[in-house]
Symmetry: C2
Subunit: 392 residues, 2 copies
Amino acid sequence: MKTLSILGSTGSIGKNTLEVISRHPDRFRVAALAVRDNIAALEEQIQKFRPDVVAVFDEAAAARLKLNNPPVEIVEGEQGMIDVATLDGVDTVVSAIVGSAGLVPTHEAIKSGKDIALATKEALVMAGGIIMSEASERGVSIIPVDSEHSAVFQCLDGRDMGEVEKIVLTASGGPFLNKSAEELEHVTPAEALNHPNWAMGNKISIDSATLMNKGLEVIEAFWLFNVPVEKIGVILHPQSIIHSMVRFIDGSVISQMSVPDMKGPISYALSYPDRIGNILPELDLAEIKQLTFEEPDTKKYPSLSLTYDALRAGGTMPCVLNGANEAAVEAFLDGSISFTGISRVVSGTMAAHKAGKGETIEEVIRASEWARKKAGSMIKGLTNNKKACIKA
Amino acid sequence: MKTLSILGSTGSIGKNTLEVISRHPDRFRVAALAVRDNIAALEEQIQKFRPDVVAVFDEAAAARLKLNNPPVEIVEGEQGMIDVATLDGVDTVVSAIVGSAGLVPTHEAIKSGKDIALATKEALVMAGGIIMSEASERGVSIIPVDSEHSAVFQCLDGRDMGEVEKIVLTASGGPFLNKSAEELEHVTPAEALNHPNWAMGNKISIDSATLMNKGLEVIEAFWLFNVPVEKIGVILHPQSIIHSMVRFIDGSVISQMSVPDMKGPISYALSYPDRIGNILPELDLAEIKQLTFEEPDTKKYPSLSLTYDALRAGGTMPCVLNGANEAAVEAFLDGSISFTGISRVVSGTMAAHKAGKGETIEEVIRASEWARKKAGSMIKGLTNNKKACIKA
């Protein structure tokens, strides 16, 4: 029996995690759940999974929950998230809080010796060096939940990294695969949120449309698998059936496929090193008929190049890229900037940043906050321009 | 340094094996070579690889070789093949003699404790039970060289077979993929030999065109991986890039790909459990653009169903299927029967066979000889019919 804490239990990954757990009640027990503010969904989860503790980040929401007097200990705020991440008796923490808010609780979970099922890619994007060395020191396993990294992890299956020639992450190309770079200037948030293969949260859906998500995954792969940046590639594969692959020195390529459903990688992260049944339906390739591939166009997807630049610059630069992107995506979603403005904001913020070493969590958080602020002022500039254009 | 004997060194697999070895002279030493009668090619190999012993099956050819006095010990006949298969100091025997002639030397190699890099699928088709239990008793590893089985072996990579839901062998569909069942009646040997993806010997090329080769591979997989017949499937994949795959109980599918070149699986069989470099060029999926899949049409490819029937019947039946097929392919190649006659001969021979247990090598060889004889008389019948038709 594995005892779990789930950070971000009402998000897309969190819900799928609970679905996997509910199919294997003999294997997994939920000790704690943490959410931002979705009390309604959390109350249902408390009913069904009977955790010992729940954390609610938003204190007003926590207060509302307490009024309903659910049969569970309630903690709140950032300290509440950390309490859940470090709870005694928990074996594995499922880290599935979207964005940089997941960094500190994930780091604390590692420091308290918990294994991590990692969906919060920002933890590695912002602080990969800190996280991986802390995990290695404490003998903590970090098992990826992202479908691409789970695929790579399954393809490697413990093989010597010296035998790896290239890790190739697949990218669906998002909803705008067949649009030209010029057409992208005018796409709307609703169009960008309409991902062809995966049902995901808003932030990650936009990141999929810009390919920033893939870029962040390149950074994540860099840290998870400890490979040089030249050994990480990206290929467009619109059907999202092959989730990623590994090319070995003998020219052999091992790939992992499934129907696109996050319950696959989640279940592997929970059951690893075993596999468990009753997770995904059969992949029927004869019905799918074809899998296609193409090189990503970096002119159309500048975010992808930016992430390679950030990785090469190192230190706090990936963290700044991520912070600027978070701000830019919010600005796109609220209509302040255009779709193509996202990468311009990120690029401009990176250009203004002098990378620090990024050796402490405090330093990367400062860098991230600086990036969001810097990006914010660039966004204002773009918005003013936009207004000026509309007036003119 | 691994010391090798190569049975069938002048065939397609044998030559590719020597090419792999020549790229890694620090890892592999050739102690012995065995051929049927291709003295000219053998003499070049002796020059280049300086084996201690060579075996020539054909005694007249052996006599001609002796006249040239090459710097090597020469043995001959079936005993010569066995001498090479059981040579002292040899670690691994590469078993790459086409057809049933490979059975006895492979069996003797296992009995003398050699690991086997197995290309001669007939050894398992004819005598899988005997071979696998002998190997298990002696602690001998049997590493597949067929690209499909190598793929499965790489995808499994030591995982618990209880986690396997299905082994799916890919089949190119051969040169007649786009012909109808009716059109197949009139195809010529030259057309059938023209395989779209793989350069192979004649026998296996015809078997690829009928899909009998895939059927024999199903039988081979049954024994190699110890899975029930219902857990082995076949899918058509004309590009021959995915060499096979394994579907696990969680719905995750691991596949192995490469450019279609036998040096890939050969090198893995030789270097296992390591991988070695300088074998195959990079697989460029963006250049290949698409991989396609379809269900095999068992009406068009009756040989595939026949092999499942043979496996279910068990005992000597797969051996009889194989012997009848050998005779029928020869008859097709020399123009005696039509392409579609091949499966009719095999089916007729199987129908006339009462399967024995197949518990000794002698018994399976007797069954095989019976099958060739029975098939021969059916072929005569078909030929007479053909002549009668031409006259009429």
